[in-house]
Every structure is written in structure tokens, then in C-alpha cells.
């Protein structure tokens, strides 16, 4: 049983731990649609250079990731994979929903094959609006997430109810 879960860790230590989580968000390279390219710009374009913020886009496998940016349209066919990959990430994990499609279906709100928002299958921490959001908008979302991590209650995050599908 983790000490953190019981909430017994002294304050400065939890702050330090939060700080490290805040500045080390390994983000999972996974794009779904057009937004993925803007996410790619944020990750790989020297103009935005997300690495500055401590968001490291190294992992290609969910096992080493802390953050996943759901960037783009989640289709009904894709949804199980999204869920599966989210499951496979180790806790604590964070999700940014990027773009209208991921937020709630966006331009395909009336399509027969598109899931209306990724928050129907996985919990989302930050919603970034746009279609596609500018890379800076994603950066803003990340900064917002970092602020959130900075003051989050670790015990709660650790204990959070697991989401079960099917």
C-alpha cells in the first residue's frame, strides 16, 4: 500500500513529488486525425518545442507515458483501442482532449461512425478547443494541466475510481 494513498506523506514531500510530475510529462506519440498534425507541430516543431515545458514526446508505447493527447476524431471502431491504450498506461496518468472531435464529435457530430467525445470512454483532464487548436493552444492546455497537477491532491488521484467498460 502506498503511503501516498493513505495521505500520510508530509506536505513538502508531496509538493516535491507533484513538482516532478508537473515537469516530467512523458507524452505518448499518438495522433488520430488532423489535430494530430498540430500536436506534431507542438511536439516536433522547433517553434513550439514542447520539450521546454518538460513534456517529453519519447514514448511510443503507452507503458512509459504519463500523458496522452487524444488529438482528433475517435471513431466507434477506434474507441476500444483508445480505451485499451489508456488502460495500459500506468497510473498516475493524464488525458488532454484536443480539438472539437475529441471534445464532442466536432464536425462529425452527426456521423454514423464517430464517437461523440472521448470523455465517453476515458476521463479527460483538460479540454483544448479548436479545429484544430493551434499548437500554442495545446501548449496552453498543457500549462493548464501542469497547474492542475501542481495543486492536485495526490491521495485522491491515486485512489480515483477505476473506470470499467463492458
Amino acid at each position: 500500500m502506498g503511503l501516498v494513498e493513505s495521505g500520510k506523506l508530509p506536505k513538502p514531500l508531496t509538493q516535491l513529488l507533484s513538482l516532478s510530475r508537473k515537469y516530467s510529462l512523458w507524452v505518448y506519440q499518438w495522433g488520430l486525425a488532423c489535430c494530430a498534425i498540430e500536436m506534431g507541430s507542438a511536439f516536433a516543431s522547433p517553434r513550439y518545442d514542447v520539450m521546454r515545458l518538460g513534456v517529453i514526446p519519447f514514448p511510443a508505447s503507452p507503458r512509459q507515458a504519463d500523458l496522452v493527447v487524444i488529438s482528433g476524431t475517435v471513431t466507434d471502431k477506434m474507441a476500444p483501442a483508445v480505451k485499451r491504450l489508456y488502460d495500459q498506461m500506468p497510473d498516475p496518468k493524464y488525458v488532454i482532449s484536443m480539438g472539437s472531435c475529441a471534445n464532442c464529435g466536432g464536425p462529425y457530430w452527426d456521423s454514423y461512425s464517430v464517437t461523440k467525445g472521448v470523455d465517453q470512454i476515458i476521463p479527460v483532464d483538460v479540454y483544448v478547443p479548436g479545429c484544430p487548436p493551434r499548437p500554442e493552444a495545446l501548449l496552453e492546455g498543457i500549462v493548464l494541466l501542469q497547474e492542475r497537477i501542481g495543486r492536485e491532491d495526490m491521495a485522491d488521484r491515486w485512489k480515483g475510481d477505476p473506470i470499467v467498460v463492458g
Partner: protein
């Protein structure tokens, strides 16, 4: 100024000799389109009875409606004997007028919905047609820069056609797509499985009678929220009337 390497064949400059063969812009005025007429002629001679009807929009395109039974031979002959070697696409059209209109909750669409109780007459496009479903395919001749759009009627009770995969390898995916979207099967294509949709998806989305549920469920924000008031509305109404 080109300092980089050239590789491959030396290629003509486009502006130097823009091919005279393609003359779409020049013949806009012309009522007749000799090249397409000649092609239509050749098609008719090669395919014989299989050609049901042809339609030419001068300077634009050639439509040929063929027999469903001859569908495979059409491809074979076009590719091997007529030089139409480039496979553009293969799909289908459902000519049934949509029973749901634009599927908007708007007043005008509700009217369209109302009229759908008695099926509207089916009106087909160029080169005619007798049935609700029509196959649609397009081939192209890269050397002559001329293309043909083929159509074939499919009777409602037997939505199937011979496959093109024997002639055009790329037709496999297109046929799968058509099968998935319209429920048209292709004899000879053994790989008719879902291409786009999850395996258990039911229905054929591109059929006109496939409803888009979200559009029917969600209240249309503009209409619902305004309480219509008696009395005339000036400028806005005029626009709306036009917009419908």
C-alpha cells in the same frame, strides 16, 4: 537556377508543349465533342449490345450505361482493347430521393419528411437508368487524356454484379466499400468484408434510407429556442425563406 541533380528521363516542360490532346477549355463552345464521340463509338463496337445508353457532355465527360451482366467484360475490354488502363474509382448511387430531406428539424425539412410517406419518383442522372441502385465506375486513358464514367443498373431484388478485381486489382477495396456502403455484392470478390466499419455494424450508410440518428435526436438550436411570435418579421424572414 536548377542546381540539383536530374534523374530519370528528361521531361518536357509543361508550358513548352501543353498537350493539344486535352482541349477541354477550347471546346467549351463546341456543341460536339469528336474525341468523346469517337470513343463512344469504339466502345459500342467493342462491347456490342452491352452498351445501353451513352451520354456526352461536350468538352467534359462521357457517360456509358452498360448491362449489369456485361460489367466484367466492360472492364476487361476497356483496359485491354480501348486503352482505358487507369482505374479511377468504383462506387454506386442510390437514386431514391431521401426520405429525410436534409435531416434537419427545420420546417422545410419536416415537409420533405412528410412527403416521404409516399415515395417520391426516382429520377436518374446522365445516361439514364431504370433502377434505384446504379453502379458507377470511372476509367481513364492516361495517354489520350480521356475518361469514361460507366454506369450499370442493378435490380432491387438482386443487388449484385460481377467483380472487376480480375481486371483492376485496385477494384477490390472499392468493391468492398460499395458492398459495405450500399449492400451491393460482387460475385467473384471473395473478400467482401467490412472495410471501414466495425464488424457488427448494421445497415448500409450510404443508402438514402439510412438515417443519421444524431440529426434526428438533437434539437436544432435555432428553431427550438425561438418562440415564434405572431406578426410579420422583416428582413430576417426573407433571408430564411431563401435559405430554405
Amino acid at each position: 537556377m536548377r542546381t540539383w541533380l536530374t534523374a530519370g528521363r528528361v521531361i518536357r516542360l509543361s508550358s513548352a508543349d501543353t498537350p493539344t490532346t486535352e482541349s477541354s477549355e477550347d471546346v467549351v463552345e463546341a456543341v460536339r465533342d469528336e474525341r468523346r464521340e469517337a470513343l463512344a463509338e469504339r466502345l459500342t463496337t467493342v462491347l456490342g449490345d452491352a452498351v445501353v445508353e451513352t451520354h456526352i457532355r461536350p468538352g467534359d465527360d462521357l457517360w456509358v450505361r452498360v448491362n449489369r451482366e456485361a460489367w466484367a467484360e466492360v472492364a476487361e475490354a476497356s483496359r485491354n482493347r480501348l486503352g482505358l488502363r487507369f482505374f479511377d474509382f468504383l462506387s454506386a448511387i442510390d437514386w431514391l430521393p431521401s426520405p429525410f430531406g436534409r435531416d434537419m428539424d427545420a420546417q422545410e425539412d419536416l415537409d420533405a419528411g412528410a412527403s416521404s410517406s409516399e415515395p417520391a419518383p426516382i429520377v436518374t442522372g446522365y445516361a439514364g437508368g431504370d433502377t434505384r441502385f446504379q453502379l458507377l465506375a470511372r476509367l481513364f486513358d492516361i495517354d489520350e487524356h480521356i475518361g469514361v464514367t460507366f454506369k450499370a443498373d442493378l435490380p432491387d431484388e438482386d443487388l449484385s454484379a460481377p467483380t472487376w478485381t480480375g481486371t483492376f486489382l485496385g477494384a477490390e477495396w472499392h468493391e468492398r466499400e460499395t458492398w459495405e456502403m450500399f449492400g451491393i455484392s460482387f460475385t467473384g470478390n471473395r473478400n467482401l468484408v467490412h472495410l471501414y466499419l466495425p464488424g457488427a455494424f448494421e445497415g448500409n450508410p450510404l443508402r438514402k434510407d439510412f438515417p443519421l440518428l444524431a440529426r434526428r435526436v438533437k434539437p436544432w438550436p435555432g428553431i427550438v429556442d425561438v418562440e415564434p411570435m405572431p406578426g410579420a418579421d422583416e428582413e430576417a424572414d426573407g433571408d430564411e425563406a431563401g435559405a430554405s
